[in-house]
């Protein structure tokens, strides 16, 4: 990995107390409750969660299904109003921002909805510029340059004139990421971006994220099931279980055998990789 030196320096910084001015994203004691009926007890609760992240940092949210990962991500995105607490992004409370102001600061990559009508990759990427135009503006030279750069940054220039319906899953994920980059966000959120990708494309995507976070100083929050990829690429890990954040910190501090076995209900071992990052091996009974 080319950025080993850089990430290990980010590593040591993690242990030091953070200066408040460094912090870009601050999740402060947010909680949430879903219920079918306000009179009834909530079906799902997210307990108070806190963590902070700086520019250029990658935070991975891990946890089993229904542990509240996506809910937490939606609250960070400002799409859900937390029951208590707040999320601050450069001093703004995310859920109180107007949609346009929010889209200029926060980009979300989520499971794609099916396209109703055919669209070119470049049209798709230009959608990321929507928050910067007035309602009836036509895209200008500047938007086109930004969209081109976004495609180039994810290595997808060659896909520009292809139809979205004709490209592979991995290529599509790159174009969707390019659309998020075209928003020129401070905060890049990804909801299970590696789902449906083969292992090569998964590594590719996370390496791209690592590079982009370093180059463009994005703060990245990614929800994922890939424990080993998260350990390899994340600066911080938030481990959720039944709506409760069990531990927040560096992968090495969160990846404890007992803890992971208890959360994921499967026997496993944790070993230290050559670069100091933990690695999880499943112990499958024959």
């Amino acid at each position: 990995m080319s950025s080993t030196a850089q990430s290990s320096s980010a590593w040591s910084n993690l242990e030091a107390p953070r200066a408040a001015s460094d912090v870009r994203l601050s999740v402060e004691q947010v909680s949430y409750a879903y219920s079918a009926n306000p009179a009834q007890a909530p079906l799902f609760t997210l307990e108070a969660n806190s963590f902070q992240a700086r520019a250029g940092e990658i935070v991975a949210i891990l946890g089993p299904n229904a542990s509240g990962k996506s809910t937490l991500l939606k609250i960070i995105a400002g799409a859900l109003e937390p029951l208590s607490g707040r999320v601050l992004l450069d001093g703004f409370v995310t859920h109180t921002l107007a949609p346009r102001a929010r889209a200029q600061r926060i980009a979300m990559v989520q499971q794609e909805s099916p396209l109703l009508f055919p669209s070119h990759a470049w049209e798709f990427v230009l959608q990321g510029r929507h928050a910067y135009g007035r309602s009836l503006r036509f895209e200008n030279e500047n938007d086109i340059i930004i969209a081109r750069n976004a495609l180039a940054q994810v290595g997808a220039e060659h896909l520009s004139d292809r139809w979205m319906s004709e490209i592979s899953g991995g290529e599509k994920q790159r174009v969707i990421l390019a659309r998020a980059l075209a928003q020129q966000p401070l905060l890049l959120l990804l909801d299970e971006p590696t789902l449906h990708l083969d292992i090569g494309a998964q590594v590719d995507l996370l390496a791209t994220l690592r590079r982009l976070a370093a180059e463009n100083r994005y703060t990245v929050v990614v929800v994922t099931h890939e424990l080993n990829l998260a350990a390899e690429y994340a600066d911080q890990v938030v481990l959720l279980h039944k709506g409760k954040s069990l531990r927040v910190g560096s992968p090495a501090s969160v990846y404890q055998r007992d803890l992971l076995e208890q959360v994921f209900h499967t026997p496993l071992t944790v070993e230290q990789g050559p670069n100091g990052r933990p690695r999880v091996n499943l112990l499958l009974s024959p």
Binding site: A79, A98, M108, Q110, L116, W122, E123, H130, L136, E139
Partner: protein
Amino acid sequence: MRPLTLQRLLFQCSILAVILFVVVVIALRLGAVQISLYGLGHDLISVLLRQTNQLSSDYAMIVIEIRLPRILLAIVVGASLAVAGTSFQALLRNPLADPYVLGVSMGAALGAILALIAEPHLALPVWLAALFTPLGAFLGAAGAIAAVYFLGLRDGQIDSGTLLLAGIISSSFLSAIIMFLLTTLTGRDFRGMAFWLMGDLSSSLQSSLRWVLGVGFMVATGAIYTTAADLNLLLAGEKEAMHLGVDVRRVRLVVYIAASILTGLAVSVSGAIGYVGLLVPHVMRLLFGSDHRILIPTAAFGGAIAVVIADTLARTVVAPSELPVGAMTALVGAPLFIYLLRRRIA
């Protein structure tokens, strides 16, 4: 990369405007009485110069007083239906949505009929009396689309098949109520109403209603057009649109009200003309792409062209008798609809 520019938009709209002009000229000539191109030009210029006393032929009356208003009505109705159809397709994320298929036209028709029945009993001031039918049609349209929307929900999501079925069921239910109401009317009214229900452009409008129609069309279409870029993103899904900076609730509200106004106005003056709102946006998408900034104006021109042609055929193929224009659009539209449906499933 070839993003939409204002020049391209204006160029493509002007092509359609020329086609519309040619169609209008042909439509003015055709009919039970044939009129020469020279006579037609002379008459129209006379009217434009307000020298109505110099009209060249005895037939000028037919052209200016009968055919021209009817063609203008066809233009506004066609454009309204096509823009409403385009909006419903984007709003409901369903390429088969249109005011007729969704039962919105029948809702508007019921609203208009209720207004017509109620009006003589209400002693309204004159200005309100003229507005009363379109208002009833608008409320009927808005009520119908709200009902169909909620019937089409499944687990909080719009389900394409359920939505269309809900539209068809609502449409037949509303028709039954309309039939019940019509039988309470006297015989002569019944025939006129039944004809109107099938779509009919032959009725002459009061001038106040013409103003309501024209202004309403401009305002509602303008309102929808301000959301054109948002609609492009809304097609990608509401959640995604929100994260890209679209105020989804505002856009939904604006488009919902404006599309109901367009449908209500069109139905209150011309009855339920089917398939225009469905097929015109499709054809325009094939020709010009699915960007709503170009789709909405081209659909307006396309709808106008389609309804002028359909109405011209409706009043000429069985001349001196007439077909309802809705029968004409259904004859062409229904098979095309089936074709699109099959292609979508395949």
